[in-house]
Symmetry: D2
Subunit: 114 residues, 4 copies
């Protein structure tokens, strides 16, 4: 497996975990953290990362397409979390999303069969 795909799988699994931890944190905080649209965007990112990691690990020819969707879910989630950048957990989440977005964009554009 190519080195950049290994890195992208790492980033997807890390982003999956950080976003799911952040959902738990947001429920505990309540208020704007627990707003339905905020949780929905975090959940989109959790699911997209899980799916993309799975397609890459299995060596699917469609991984370029799932990485494309994942990059967009990460971009939206990072933008959302950056609005609360004075909050350490949200900042951590935004950074995981940006890392995952970058490698997923790379995988999406390099996958010839996608």
């Amino acid at each position: 497996m190519a080195h950049n795909m290994e890195q992208c799988i790492d980033n997807c699994l890390d982003c999956y975990r950080v976003c799911l931890e952040t959902i738990k944190y947001c429920f505990e905080q309540g208020g704007k953290h627990a707003a339905p649209d905020h949780i929905k965007i975090l959940m989109d990112c959790v699911m997209a990362c899980q799916t993309s990691a799975n397609f890459m690990i299995r060596g699917s020819e469609m991984h370029g397409q799932t990485c494309g969707v994942c990059a967009e879910a990460c971009r939206r989630c990072a933008t959302e979390c950056e609005k609360m950048a004075d909050d350490e957990q949200m900042q951590k989440c935004a950074e995981a999303c940006r890392r995952c977005q970058r490698t997923c964009e790379e995988m999406a554009s390099s996958a010839t069969s996608a």
Copy 2:
């Protein structure tokens, strides 16, 4: 929820189930049924259907994008299964994939936020 989205969720959950049953069947048959590329395409379809159903049920704004990927996974899986159309299980699987493909294409093209 709009009627056509309800139908698409039904089709995704049905296609998920039929493809996963078909993987089990293919392992038991062995030979060309259990060829790595054949199983991989079925597994792509299982995962894509699960993800799309999840995005639609949660009311995600990104469901148009996951349905786009799912339509493509279903199209590939149906084409693959139709090569063994003299086999009842493969025929059943191809039909579930075609139904799911059609409604996913519809969802993908009608989702303005996708």
Copy 3:
């Protein structure tokens, strides 16, 4: 596949879907509906149902164990939803959980290899 396992898979997929719809509904309602512990119990049920359906469809020898966990997750979720039984969606969710609980208990106790 035995008839009662088919029924249990139906109930798991239905309960998965209804619980995930209910989470969306609870976010929209806010207040006690969106309490962290309430959402957590619904999410446990979503994940347990998805896992048990997957193990049964694949014909796993461990399905008795996943059905055992699923029955407990459904029991907890039904008990929680029945506290808001004057709310139609919560009532619908409680009923889906009870149906799934019953067939999962049956699968758990009949699985000799579990």
Copy 4:
């Protein structure tokens, strides 16, 4: 979050990934590697690890029960992979399963609410 739960989440996500990579490897090898029962046991482990990681990250009160099932899935998968211990990938997989089994057993026995 307690240190030992962090470690168990790490082990579950690692075991998830290694088992899914191993399934891909086994298909490519064919023969006894691709035997239906072998793949089924690996797939059980993939799903059980994914579910347990999810329950722990979300802080679910039922994580003790999902870890109990995961420990058993890991034990079975390790035993199976150890039969092919002259194969480097199978050895790597067995080791990931044993690490995950140990921490899942620990989580299962320490969870008072399980």
